[in-house]
């Protein structure tokens, strides 16, 4: 028996299936995310990205499949698995009537890493929210809320961070700043799984991407390798407007029709 222990994937998703009544949102998705890797899930609206992320977080029960985070089964050991995940989900928010300081204090406690006032001040300074601690969450701008949310996602130093369309609605400056933060996470050894509509973002920061459509993964690989692989594909060339880009590959693989 081969007994050598290798460095395991931080996240392993196997044959995941999510159904809402008769509708299958995720249909047999499998992939893994390695330590220190930024992995992107790309797909049109309704492709099943957010459902996949929610199932990984254990927020919904899949019809089939397994999800392992840092070796913990999210459905059998949910608390242990969640303790190893930092999260920034779309369509979630903090309590709008709490102050920034109270939100940080609350979530630090909920993740088992209570912070002193000084530590909270340092954290706020780090995300350029110094002097904003007494502001209510609802008074923050979109960019400030994203920075706070990202900071809380990593407050317990998790090995895996899940980001659901993190740059959606941000201006170019805030988006670049967020990319830098995500790359810093990667550089510090964390793994990041993010969903995005932005092919520019995927190409800029993801080591690997999976293109998801109709609940299945249609292609996986390094963004540049995917461009090279499909450079001469007729479907990709048909939608290309010059130099073949990741967006051309994406549209070539998922079709031109607009999803709602």
């Amino acid at each position: 028996m081969h007994t050598e222990r290798t460095k395991a994937a931080v996240l392993e998703v196997s044959d995941l299936q999510v159904r809402y009544g008769d509708f299958t949102a995720v249909d047999g998705v499998s992939f893994s995310v390695n330590p220190g890797e930024i992995f992107g899930l790309l797909g049109p609206n309704g492709a099943g990205k957010t459902s996949t992320l929610s199932a990984i977080e254990g927020l919904l029960s899949p019809s089939n499949g397994s999800v392992s985070v840092a070796g913990f089964d999210i459905f059998k050991e949910p608390l242990e698995a969640r303790a190893n995940i930092g999260i920034q989900l779309q369509f979630t928010s903090f309590q709008q009537d709490l102050s920034v300081r109270e939100i940080v204090r609350l979530y630090a406690s909920l993740y088992g890493t209570p912070l002193s006032d000084k530590e909270i001040d340092d954290l706020l300074q780090e995300i350029k929210l110094e002097g904003q601690g007494d502001k209510r969450a609802r008074e923050l701008s979109g960019g400030q809320q994203q920075r706070l949310s990202l900071s809380i996602a990593t407050i317990h130093n998790p090995p895996l961070v899940l980001l659901d369309e993190p740059t959606s609605g941000l201006d170019p400056q805030s988006r670049r700043q967020l990319w830098e933060r995500v790359e810093k996470m990667r550089d510090s050894g964390r793994s990041v799984l993010l969903t995005t509509h932005s092919m520019e973002e995927a190409k800029a920061i993801c080591e690997r991407v999976a293109i998801v459509d109709h609940g299945v993964i249609v292609e996986t690989g390094n963004p540049q390798e995917l461009i090279d692989k499909y450079r001469n594909d007729p479907d990709v060339l048909a939608v290309s407007r010059g130099e073949v880009t990741l967006e051309d590959v994406f549209i070539g693989l998922t079709g031109k029709e607009v999803r709602v």
Partner: protein, 255 residues
């Protein structure tokens, strides 16, 4: 062969620590929304002031019990269900559920805060009744009234949970809570004097509002007969049934 190592461990807060953190946050939010809280406290206080003339006719315990019984569903039905529906829609629950804490601690914190508000409302009503209407309540009776209010409050919180479990949209939850509040509290209060006939009066007597009135009146006079124990049993049963259905049907997700 690649093996999965559980070598990356992170702290998990124990349930007590999580509940304490949630309670601190929920109390802060309740305090910041104190205007809405005061409105629900005003309802029984206004009733007890305006029904002062009824005290010599029906007795202080009867007036006090109906006023508190009207106030409890205002908090349990409208306050609780409204805030839960709104936070669900904003995704606050989804964010909290993503933390490594037991799910029950999220709702327990909410319920404890509402029970605290109900106890405060009950105390305010007792004090106004004492000073304005001359309804004399001693400390043991007062304490028992607060305890019974909390028990009855659970049944109305269960009703609020039922509403928010069956209805998704926060606007529809608000409308439904008001629609349910009207027959539960207002019709119940008026039916007490028999204007709708004996059958409706009997139905109201054994409704959540009626059993609450029976419990509060019994606590105010420290007189317990079999109907009080039956009222206590029914109050607990209402709470368990409403909450069980409401929790089973409750969808935490935003969409």
């Amino acid at each position: 062969m690649e093996t999965t190592e559980k070598n990356i461990t992170r702290p998990i807060p124990n349930a007590k620590e999580a509940l304490r953190a949630l309670l601190r946050a929920d109390w802060s939010i309740q305090w910041r929304n104190r205007r809405a809280m005061l409105m629900s406290i005003f309802v029984p206080v206004i009733f007890i002031i305006s029904w002062k003339s009824l005290v010599p006719v029906v007795g202080g315990a009867a007036v006090l019990s109906i006023c508190i019984a009207i106030g409890l569903p205002a908090i349990g039905l409208m306050g609780y269900s409204g805030s839960v529906a709104r936070d669900r829609e904003r995704g606050v629950f989804q964010r909290l559920r993503a933390a490594p804490i037991p799910t029950w601690s999220i709702m327990t914190s909410r319920i404890l805060v509402q029970i605290g508000v109900m106890a405060f409302m009950t105390l305010c009503t007792i004090l106004v009744g004492y000073f304005n209407d001359g309804i004399h309540i001693n400390l043991p009776e007062g304490l028992l009234i607060v305890i019974f209010s909390a028990i009855a409050g659970l049944s109305f919180l269960g009703l609020g949970q039922l509403v928010v479990g069956l209805i998704r949209s926060s606007e529809a939850v608000n409308a439904a809570a008001r629609l349910v509040y009207f027959p539960v509290a207002v019709v119940g209060a008026i039916a007490e004097i028999g204007v709708f006939g004996d059958i409706l009066k009997m139905i109201v007597d054994w409704s959540p509002l009626g059993t609450t009135k029976t419990l509060i009146a019994a606590a105010a006079t420290l007189s317990f007969d079999s109907s009080v124990w039956l009222a206590l049993f029914l109050t607990l049963a209402y709470g368990v049934v409403f909450a069980a259905i409401g929790i089973k049907k409750f969808d935490w997700s935003v969409n």
